[in-house]
């Protein structure tokens, strides 16, 4: 009787183990399925369109170029969340940031002084000073002449123009 019980238990255990083994085998996604799933996820995100995933035994390797560190991390997370993925090797490169615009070139004061003198020659009511690239205007000018004078001064490439002119 005792032996029968032991046998029964052993049989039950065996059955459980084999059933669970079979079912886990059945539900484990194939590498190709994982790859398809990840590729689908990436294609939905425009900045990950250049990232490719290869899968081997559930280990995903990402390669290609990401826009920035955030999208690189995003790619990794999307891959990790995919069913059947054991681990992710993230070999994505991050694109270099776009070059910053060239700094504005400001004319030197001696150049500005000469240019300002030329520009204001026909406007005797206008007094000027130039310091550290800043052109300061005082005195007075006719309303009709203001734009003309300003166009000349702006093309001298000053840092800025402080207009304290009285406009008549």
């Amino acid at each position: 009787m005792k032996i029968t019980i032991v046998r029964l238990i052993v049989l039950m255990l065996f059955t459980t183990v084999s059933v669970s083994t079979i079912s886990s085998c059945k539900s484990k996604p194939k590498d190709t399925d994982i790859q398809t799933a990840i590729t689908g996820k990436f294609s939905a995100v425009s900045e990950l369109s250049a990232v490719t995933a290869t899968v081997s035994d559930g280990v995903v390797t990402l390669s290609g170029e990401c826009k920035d560190e955030a999208s690189k991390a995003n790619a990794e997370n999307l891959a990790k969340e995919t069913e059947g993925v054991k681990s992710v090797i993230n070999n994505c490169t991050v694109a270099a940031p776009p070059p910053a615009p060239a700094p504005v070139v400001i004319s030197a004061d001696d150049q500005l002084i000469k240019g300002v003198a030329d520009a204001t020659k026909d406007f005797p009511g206008v007094k000027t000073s130039v310091k550290d690239g800043v052109v300061t205007l005082t005195g007075e000018i006719k309303k009709a002449d203001l734009k003309k004078l300003m166009q000349s001064l702006h093309s001298l490439k000053p840092k800025k123009i402080e207009n304290h002119l009285t406009v008549k």
């Binding site: 504005v104 030329d118 093309s155 001298l156 800025k160």
Partner: protein, 140 residues
Amino acid sequence: MALQDKYKELIDYARTSGISDLQVREQDNVLYVDGAAPSGEVKDKLWDIYSKLDPDFRSADVVMDVNVSTAVAGSKARVTTEKSNLNIRKGPGTDQTVIGKAAHDEIVTLVSKTNNQWWLIRTDKGQEGYAYAQYLTTTS
């Protein structure tokens, strides 16, 4: 970025009016707009918008250096002084000797550009010298 909001209309127009080499940069609270306009009308329109957004140009927060790209060596230009003659000088600067005059409304030839202020010009009579660019308007 506040300046780009204040001058949004100006920037939007600059971006859609065919200005070549357009650069819109903000540095030390000044907005710098550089480029070459396809015509004098485009430049005028830019200045109209600018003066509307900043009446009498009081804010000292824009430097707009947009010249007219049709002003190239070899092209013809009209002398657009108010009514007086335009001085033709020996060199590029009002400190240079006046060596001749071009009449108001006269058509001259642009020989070469010294800088944004000065052009070397030639009159139909063959007189050559430097004239202030502001008073030369290219004829289309």
